[in-house]
């Protein structure tokens, strides 16, 4: 009996250790998520009251019938797709370049330059980019003019705003994907490449048949992270465009935020749930596909 008491006392210490972590996870994670789902079924005007009035699926019906929401959803999917391609393409290309033997001692400096934006406060980075794109102040158009290239509409034109935002986000995020690729490249088997060399493989054949299959883990991780990242793009929008011009950069997170800002909590949380389901579905599918391909 005493032995059992001592054992339980010893075990209970672990629950004590985990208590703060559990408390924060519940209070700032699970409770808000549950609350968000609950609020999405209530009328906005009563959402914060002790006894809110429930409206069933009405908020979801409103949201899904809202053409602006659907437009924003497609825009978000398009943007996420393009961003994933651009970011991972650039990060992989640059990592492969840095991994070549001839880069030598400069590798560290190049890597640092591309990674620095990752740890730079995103607001500061995007504020600077906003002004870099500016038509009268901006260095971007001044540089294009210097090179004899046509001017870039930047954030002012609906046709170029999404590209301008995409490039600023690439500047901020790509360094992270690059170091994941570099970490994977460091454990790639060089002997396989040498064998391919002996067999007379061309550079692209070596890349496609020997290197890329070995980079599968990094590709899967980066895909999942980048998809989650760009499906919920927000800071860049609130800093640089406020969804404009003419809605060209009004992605889902920002669209939902505008409802929240107007205290339309029911619709805002309904959108949040829809976006969460989409993120979970897409990221989960990619992850599952990546895991299955592993064996």
């Amino acid at each position: 009996m005493r032995a059992m008491g001592g054992r339980w006392r010893r075990e209970s210490v672990f629950y004590l250790f985990a208590l703060p972590f559990a408390a924060l996870t519940i209070v700032f994670g699970l409770w808000p998520i549950a609350l968000s789902i609950q609020v999405s079924f209530t009328g906005s005007a009563t959402a914060l009251r002790a006894v809110p009035s429930y409206v069933g699926w009405a908020n979801y019906a409103t949201v899904l019938a809202d053409p602006l929401f659907l437009a924003s959803l497609w825009r978000t999917l398009l943007y996420a797709g393009l961003s994933v391609l651009a970011n991972l393409g650039f990060a992989l290309g640059f990592a492969l370049l840095l991994n070549t033997a001839f880069i030598g001692r400069m590798r560290g400096a190049y890597k640092l330059a591309v990674f620095l934006p990752v740890v730079t406060p995103d607001v500061a980075g995007y504020v600077v980019w906003r002004w870099l794109y500016d038509q009268s102040f901006g260095a971007v158009n001044a540089a294009l003019k210097l090179l004899g290239l046509p001017a870039f509409g930047g954030l002012a034109a609906p046709a170029t705003a999404m590209l301008a935002v995409l490039l600023a986000e690439l500047w901020h995020h790509a360094g992270f994907y690059m170091v994941i690729f570099l970490a994977n490249l460091a454990v790639v088997d060089r002997a396989l490449e040498e064998a391919a060399d002996i067999d007379g493989a061309r550079a692209w054949q070596k890349l496609w048949f020997v290197v890329l299959p070995q980079l599968r883990p990094a590709i899967v991780i980066n895909l999942v992270y980048a998809l989650i990242q760009f499906l919920k793009t927000f800071t860049v929008v609130i800093t640089m465009t406020k969804g404009g011009p003419n809605g060209a950069t009004n992605f889902l997170s920002y669209y939902a935020y505008q409802f929240f800002d107007e205290a339309r909590y029911g619709e805002a949380t309904a959108m949040a749930t829809v976006l969460f389901a989409i993120v979970l579905l897409i990221a989960g599918t990619v992850y599952a596909l990546g895991e299955r391909g592993r064996t």
Binding site: R10, V13, F14, F17, A18, P20, F21, A22, L24, T25, I26, V27, F28, G29, L30, P32, I33, L35, S36, L48, F94, L97, F102, I103, Y110, K111, A113, V114, F115, L116, P117, T120, P121, D122, V123, A124, G125, V127, V128, W131, F137, A139, N141, A142, A143, V179, I221, Y225, I228, K232, F234, T239, S253, Y257, F260, T269, M271, A272, F276, A283
Partner: protein, 272 residues
């Protein structure tokens, strides 16, 4: 030939990535008129400090208060995050099969997948219900929970040799003694890495700070910057000066600890 081309591309990309920093720093010391005349010039004609004097007050908020808020909120949330994640990850990795811990881990993962910006909306309601709206406590507590911290600790504790703990248990050491006298001293490098990364990430946080604040009294530097940037007829030089102030502390910390930061962020992502 390949060699030259490779270096040329890598150098060009690096210059493009670093250019915004140079332009920001130079524009902070150049009058708006000077930037309009020569947007590409990087060395200031003269060191004009108007931008910095203009941001000593940002609306109702003094620059020093914003800086103090940033240091307080980032420092406190970092310390708390390290402690909470270390204890939680340790307990879970010592008893991975306990049902409550498995549930907790799944709950945590779910939270981390939830779109962060949309989590803040219900967090606003939670903080409101807890009566923490407008104070520092709500902001600090919310920022004390993050994925990188937990995964880095969990990974480290999983690799702990079981014999060390067994030996100490046989010697009659209590679990608290094992953790604080044996395990945590061994975890010192991880603690340092997690603390640095958390500081960098939390310094940049702005949305929870803005949402949980009721006045500008609790605003941090990024929130003040966002606000200044959103004003009509914005003061360009002041915005660049505030961007410099917001960026320099973390850029300096990163350059000092770059190896640990890059390694830690890679591990935190890969093993999670």
């Amino acid at each position: 030939m390949m060699r030259m081309l490779g270096h040329a591309i890598a150098a060009a990309v690096s210059v493009i990535f670093l250019f915004p920093y140079l332009w920001m720093a130079s524009s902070a010391f150049r009058s708006t008129r000077a930037v309009l005349t020569a947007p590409l010039r990087l060395w200031p004609e003269s060191f004009d400090l108007d931008g910095f004097t203009a941001i000593l007050r940002i609306g109702d908020l003094s620059l020093w208060r914003a800086l103090g808020n940033s240091l307080l909120i980032t420092g406190a949330s970092t310390a708390l995050a390290v402690l909470v994640a270390a204890l939680g990850a340790y307990a879970i990795s010592r008893r991975p099969k306990a049902a409550a811990f498995r549930l907790l881990r799944y709950g945590f993962l779910l939270t981390m997948i939830y779109p962060y910006m949309l989590l803040v909306i219900p967090v606003y309601i939670v903080v409101y219900k807890l009566g923490l709206l407008g104070g520092y406590a709500g902001i600090i507590l919310f920022l004390a929970l993050g994925p990188v911290q937990f995964f880095l600790f969990e990974q480290f504790f999983r690799t702990l040799p079981g014999e060390v703990i067994e030996a100490a248990t046989i010697d009659g050491a209590s679990e608290a003694a094992i953790l604080f006298r044996i395990v945590l001293p061994m975890a010192r490098p991880v603690v340092a890495t997690v603390a640095i990364i958390t500081f960098l990430l939390n310094w940049a946080q702005w949305f929870p700070v803005l949402v949980i604040s009721s006045t500008s009294d609790t605003w941090t530097l990024p929130v003040a910057l966002l606000n200044l940037n959103g004003e009509l007829g914005a003061n360009f030089q002041g915005i660049m000066a505030l961007s410099v102030v917001t960026t320099i502390p973390v850029a300096a910390l990163f350059l000092v600890a770059q190896r640990q930061v890059i390694q830690g962020m890679t591990d935190g992502a890969v093993k999670g």
